[in-house]
Symmetry: D2
Subunit: 421 residues, 4 copies
């Protein structure tokens, strides 16, 4: 088991650094909006997590740099004062090189510590390391979407990866709507492996009759919404969404550009003509909700989504995850793909649900700093399900609850429609 943990630790840490290979030093440093942290910060903060929550428990451990505890704490009030979040992009030091040295220092000590762990006695520490690994996977996704924000708002149109977006001659296997009868279901993680505390406790939830689309909304469909004037008709929008749209002059998904009658988009793979059959992405909850309303449909609740996803036999290998290195939602991830795979609920783009991010019945925040991991965010955010092309394959589950504010669009977010029957 400890070999497994060590391997998992090291491969996750290596994966993070692998993702940074195409970066210039300059790309590591800036923070164009508060949501977007500098890549350098992600490298250091994930390291801080292990140093702070694991290594520091050992009193003989020699701290790398006391100031790093102040600089790289994200939001843990239990851990004391910290550098202000909106000012992460003002710190030119430590340099990128120094951050990699910090990583190496911590990795060496973590490797050593893991080799000495006892499966029986060190349960809590093992659990925290697993949490740290999952934490780093979350930051891999953020690193990629933050980097996308940085590169794709630059008029010089830098390219992160030369990987092309695969187009398939076969359309997505749209089987229309999957229907479910009302009933009481167990919601939440029932397996024995790692999951986040917000997926528990398992609860009985009644879901009423509903149908859910077998495939996500694609660009072609979303353009119909735009072309029909959907962005300019208040009737489709929540009031807050409508005000948000006007205040920010929103007329299309983030990264879209219209040239003449054609749509283009900035991607991590460069500036490209929009692939009409790919799932739409980089939209806010407000836009997802307005699209659904315009269609006379709605977004699924997170419970409906989970019931539907659990009913399917999803082939993880055929889903578009981080390991596919596509860095963009797309119809196919292999030249000869199985058309059923892409109808699956996992990968490509997170799907906005109509559910607010609230605790499950019986949820209890853990004591101490790690209790701050999820619980304190359970207000004014909406749940997203399913993972994306930037999510590590072994990080996602059908019970996984992601959450963002309704106006956020820099993540790989998309739409799956539902209907009340």
């Amino acid at each position: 088991m400890m070999k497994g943990l060590a391997k998992s630790y090291l491969s996750t840490r290596a994966q993070t650094e692998e993702l940074c290979k195409p970066l210039e030093i300059e790309d590591y440093v800036v923070q164009p909006i508060e949501d977007v942290s500098p890549p350098k910060w992600h490298l250091a903060h994930t390291t801080w997590f292990f140093e702070n929550f694991i290594l520091k428990k050992d009193k003989s451990y020699k701290v790398y740099d006391d100031l790093f505890f102040y600089l790289f704490n994200s939001y843990y009030e239990h851990e004391g004062e910290r550098w202000k979040r909106p000012e992460r992009g003002y710190l030119t030091r430590p340099t990128v090189k120094e951050v990699y040295q910090y990583r190496a220092y911590v990795d060496e000590r973590m490797r050593d510590l893991i080799s000495r762990l006892d499966t029986e006695k060190d349960t809590e520490m093992i659990n925290t390391i697993e949490l740290g690994i999952n934490h780093e996977q979350q930051h891999q996704e953020l690193l990629l979407t933050d980097l996308k924000y940085i590169l794709c708002h630059n008029p010089l149109k830098p390219v992160y990866s030369s990987q092309k977006i695969l187009k398939s001659e076969r359309q997505i296997a749209n089987k229309g709507y999957l229907s479910f009868e009302g009933g009481v279901h167990d919601i939440g993680y029932t397996g024995g492996a790692f999951c986040f505390d917000n997926e528990k406790p398992v609860n009985k939830v009644r879901v009423n009759d509903f149908s859910i689309a077998s495939s996500p909304v694609i660009n072609k469909e979303y353009i119909e919404f735009i072309d029909s004037g959907g962005y300019n008709d208040f009737r489709h929008w929540l009031m807050e969404g409508w005000e948000w749209r006007k205040a920010n002059n929103i007329n299309a998904p983030m990264y879209w550009h219209k040239e003449g009658t054609n749509w283009y988009e900035m991607t991590l793979n460069g500036y490209q003509k929009l692939d009409l059959s790919s799932p739409v992405t980089h939209i806010s909850f407000y836009e997802a909700e307005a699209y659904a309303t315009w269609k006379n449909h709605r977004l699924p609740t997170e419970f409906e989504w989970e019931v539907a996803a659990n009913s399917l036999n999803i082939d993880m290998e055929e889903c578009n995850f981080l390991e596919s290195k596509t860095y963009h939602p797309q119809t196919a991830i292999y030249e000869n793909y199985d058309s059923d795979a892409v109808t699956n609920f996992l990968g490509n783009a997170w799907e906005w649900t109509g559910s607010s991010y609230l605790p499950y019945h019986g949820y209890k925040q853990a004591e101490g700093a790690l209790g701050e991991y999820n619980g304190k965010f359970m207000i004014n955010q909406m749940v997203l399900r399913g993972g994306s092309c930037a999510t590590a394959r072994d990080h996602i589950r059908t019970t996984y609850r992601n959450f963002f504010h309704a106006d956020k669009r820099w993540q790989f977010t998309g739409i799956r429609l539902a209907k009340t029957e």
Copy 2:
């Protein structure tokens, strides 16, 4: 029936004006924060509602003043451009006198119209008039809480009513916690009278085992939270609540003042020593949630609240509503009160629930302007249940869903605790 409607219309309109009797002309005009509309505006807007949605349907109707459609539309996009909400307090004209003339003009024509209605043929119009009456009742509550904001932030401490807060020697009949077993319940309005669209359709919802307090949190208990440092300990707070608290320097409910070791509060009945046995009020969701967390309890979901309230036999006459003219939550509303009554779930103060304001399964927004009444607000707000001392007695129900943003405290809001068993 039409006689009933006419009576209901006229008494509601009269009630609104009755509430304004103690006002000086100056009190009608100002808007200290965006949430708080000038009393004059409430008088005109509720009139606009009848003129716009009822009288104007008759083409022979002579509009009172075209500009009033622009000035007194609140948020109905279907009705076109409107005076900006944050600038309602800049309009010194029409004068208060002119607004009352406007009311009289519309009332005369409404009385005439109602007398000519046919129960069979004019169902839609009758429904809209009922909606208009309920709408005006909602604005009575807002008028009172807005006026409270205006008067009670004035250092001269003006008094609206000389009514005293009744104190009872008997404590509130705190029976502790009422326990309920898990099961599936019908949620939503099942009666045959008026209800808002957001209380429908009736749905099957599974509620898990829970307990709910028989009485709301009282000032004495809330002071314990303050005295134990609850406002300064991040562990009890959602992150947004904690940031809100710091940014706004919140250390006690709105209107509370500490003199030496004693707490006082500004009320519509003047500046008074805090009654320790009265329900706490004028707190945000953030404070309610923090209090519950500090107590190792939680807020009930709106479904739990409804299940519990429906299980009780509430005597509406003994609840503290607008008609009691207390204008403040309090233990007793009559000198010889029945101690059981005050444990009831209705009246006194709205109770924050842990539920986000979202549509019920199958909810569909109506076409046209009236569809904007509730549906477009279903994002980033929390549900409150039960009505308050400023709610008209025949306006409230156990299925009634009120909603405010988590930081709002100028309404009569309070706390009822729940537990997961």
Copy 3:
């Protein structure tokens, strides 16, 4: 002398109340922008000035209401904490009636006190009373321009005065430019009557050769600037002015409205077709400066202005001041006016100069609260000269220095051009 002082005091106090005669109670209360104080506040603050700086010096004086010292102090740090300026419009109490009672109370005691003053021994108090009278005259002007802001931004277009703007068949006597040779001049007030401390000490200032227009820019001329695209051509503007213009979407003077090809303006005399021969008014320094640049001219310095004004023989009776009751800059103030009069430098509209508001050589702020009257504002404001149609006739002088920030336009402000020869 004391009779003169008493008369001056009482007539000034009466004049203020006379100006309020056309107001509705509602008009007294609101504050649509921070610059615009509620008329009620002006009534109380000018009274506070006498109570605080005169009456309170007598220990036997019985203060009217202690809280009024807090509520009606404007900006005197020496006088302690005060109600926040942006929140003056939130105070519905004291009522208008109570404010008039406050005025009557203070007036009675002031009248009594003045009758007992000794010209020899009470110099300081007499000086302060004179300052208080001049202070109240300044607030008469502000009361009128603040009221104008309140009424003239109301879509119902309320009318303050039914006085018409007089149009003359004779054009303004535009004698072109008055030329002056360079030389050293005494600048500042040399007379023996009252003046403000910022007009002193008298100083030798060298003024270089210059010409100054004999009459102000009129609406017809200003429309040429608009029609030639002056508002949309950055070349005429200071950078701050250009950013201000874009941010606030400024395309014409405040209160102007275009209907078809005609310009109208809201005035205290109602909504009127723009009189083309009247001086342009309600423009910011940025606009004045841009107009001058567009014309290949410039604004005069305050020293040039003073030198020119001092060289003229101005008939105060023919200038358009507050006593004319026109409440608007205009060509003629009498049906048979002397065309030379209107070329005069006093009355009609304040004239923006190209000078920053800075202390004269040797200026020294007085000790104590009254030292705060002028000195602490000497930064980032521009000097205006000449008074306006809202200035009391005996309040203005050629050495009088008014000052506002470069973006302010709610005062009666105008343009007189100058040239460097």
Copy 4:
């Protein structure tokens, strides 16, 4: 002459790059406040200046990258749309390396062009090149102060230069006050070499009797102001300054830190104990003015300053300029310094004057983009005189007019007192 120009061009360009030698790549990229541009941006913008205003005039010139015209235009409206100033720190590309390549490309073509210039025929181009050189010198100063802001707000306390601040055992030669009699002086640049347009035309200005300190205020003196409560006594402050101080919680010059009873400061030479005999620096106009008021003195006008400076025989070699490589104001710049030198008016720190930045009598903005260089900023800024330790020695003159808003403190700014006699 062209050899001189070429040499001047090349040495200035080399100087800029020399200043960047100690930087890490990361240091080049960020913009912590709008005032502070990324060092990379300075490198590119100064290059853009030559490419845009010189090279592009030659139609055969091959533009380096069209987008650079958009990215590196600072504020020239004549040159069209440009990347927004507050977002300069979001551009990770072009990389630092690419910016240096851009510099090399332009330098090669500039060198070639200069060698072909004809002193007679190419006057305008030669003048523009000289302007470009002076422009780059201004940006050298900004580069250094911007870099200081970046490094010296970093808790890791990075060091730019290991140069120590020299302390001298001899005090600054404080000769007290130099007195001048009133009279008319020629103000402005009368020499034949380069100067900025804002130093012209030469004008006769009357200066009244005044005295001016022979040496600037030093840290020891400024600490007395702090220790006497100067920051907390409103009486010393302009109202805007007082509000600024409260809003920004200002209690000492920028970069000062108090440890126990000792003051330290962050400098480009690292974190150091404050040298008490060095001139105070990094203060706003508000602080300079408050200090002078506290001392019962005042700041000199820019005319007084110029008259005084012109009366002295300043040895430029003994002044502390950029070439001294001290990067900080200090008593001595050589181990054996001449104590008179440091009383000189040039170098060390810019001296705030009491004069607003306004055009000289007869000033006329040039046509076209270069007219935007100075003229459009002549509003709401204060003049500073004398240059600093970050100013190139051949860039400064006694007639040189620098200008900043009253709240700016990130430049090397200081205080020299004056008195009215």
